[in-house]
């Protein structure tokens, strides 16, 4: 018989806040985020790493939270869509998605935002091709890709302007 308990107390950092949860260590990160940490911004689409709706950052790296057992994020810094804004100030990517109509039903939006933030962090002057590659793992069932890509183009402009102003 196994002596390992079904539930473990795990310490997680989500959006800079330390959390302690009592969960099975193989629970999918998305389930812990939504059900135990009560952050429901992260969505589940396919549950198999195809749609990207559940994208989050683990130590700054984009992953599908439906494919990560929670035991693997102990000691990492995890950021969800709720962690993108700086207080009441939305992230430039969020501002651009609102202004350009980058969200329709909204299910894919959190993942799109995370993927776009990841892209612009490394490349604030992406071509349309680069944007489409960066978002290739994020499916929009409303098929609003034109506005989504435009939102990222606009967000890049905002990011560059912010950097210029902050210099």
């Amino acid at each position: 018989m196994s002596e390992s308990p079904a539930q473990s107390y795990l310490r997680l950092s989500v959006n800079g806040v330390a959390r302690e949860v009592s969960v099975h260590p193989m629970t999918r990160l998305i389930d812990v985020l939504r059900e135990d940490v009560a952050l429901t911004g992260t969505k589940e689409g396919c549950g198999e790493g195809e749609c990207g709706a559940c994208s989050v950052f683990i130590d700054g790296v984009v992953v599908n939270s439906c494919l990560v057992p929670v035991a693997q994020v102990v000691g990492t810094e995890n950021v969800t869509v709720e962690g993108l804004a700086d207080g009441d100030t939305l992230h430039p990517v969020q501002q651009a998605f609102i202004a350009a109509g980058g969200a329709q039903c909204g299910i894919c939006t959190p993942g799109m935002l995370i993927a776009a933030v990841a892209l612009l962090r490394d490349n604030d002057e992406p071509t349309e091709d680069e944007i489409r590659v960066a978002l290739a793992g994020n499916l929009c069932r409303c098929t609003g890709y034109g506005r989504i890509v435009q939102s990222v183009v606009d967000a890049a402009t905002l990011v560059r302007a912010t950097k210029g102003a902050g210099a």
Binding site: H24, M26, R28, G47, E48, G52, V63, A118, A136, G137
Partner: protein, 300 residues
Amino acid sequence: MRGIVSDHELTSPSTLQETLALLSDDPGEVRPIAGGTDVMVELAAGVLRHRRWVNIWQHDELRGIGVGEDTITVRALTTYSEVRAHDVLSREFPMLGQAAAESGAWAIQNRGTIGGNIVNASPAADTPPALLVYDAKLILLSSRGERVVPYRDFHTGYKQMQREPDELLSGVVLPRDPWLVGPDSRALQRYRKVGTRKAQAISKVCLAALGVVEQGKVVVFRLAFGSVAAVPLACTAAEAVAVGSAADATLADRVAAALTGQVLPLDDVRSTARYRARVAENLAREFATDLANGLTGFAR
């Protein structure tokens, strides 16, 4: 039906020695989980049959790429993103970088590992054809010690492999043969994945190939496919036909004729046997023709 997580068990030992001990205590009872991009899909879908899992993600000694004089070692937990980003690897083993770049989108590439891609043993996996062509070797680690197995001998049947139940794949060794992969190499290298869309799709067929022609003769010819057999397939019959023969207009026909006994695809959700066999033949012919025409370097 949704999987029930409490039907499974996951332990996260802090040391590799503890993990190896777990694997050897009850051989076959405990299986390793790395990036989770295959295992967690099965868990969610309710089809994960295996009960006891050991998390190896925290074992940093299984991570990274070591460049030696004669070999490059890609340790098992190296992600597709890390493979793509590595200078020497991308330059000398471009098919591997290409395979990594075409395995899922970024979020998968950030988590999926080369070790997982091998031991998950899917015939549709993207890096195995490249590893077959580069004549990689696998390092298998257990509490009994370490052994090295040629990758070409590793897959023995559908999801069957030479890994013993207590063994952990710890790394992949790529030979840096300057003649084949160095800056002065005259080899033609090609990796082609055919799927339903450019991003994210699982292969219908994928080809990796490497050839060298000298003075009108084929001196090296290596050809491998994904998704056309029960295992990632090295087309040894076609290789044998090509090597030593004239690099002429008949090469493509001779290679194509030698595929028939080994390229034995299935009908499944992703494609049909007929389509796969035809595309595999077309890709092999195209490669053989380009090689005979004197093309060198890396081309998709």
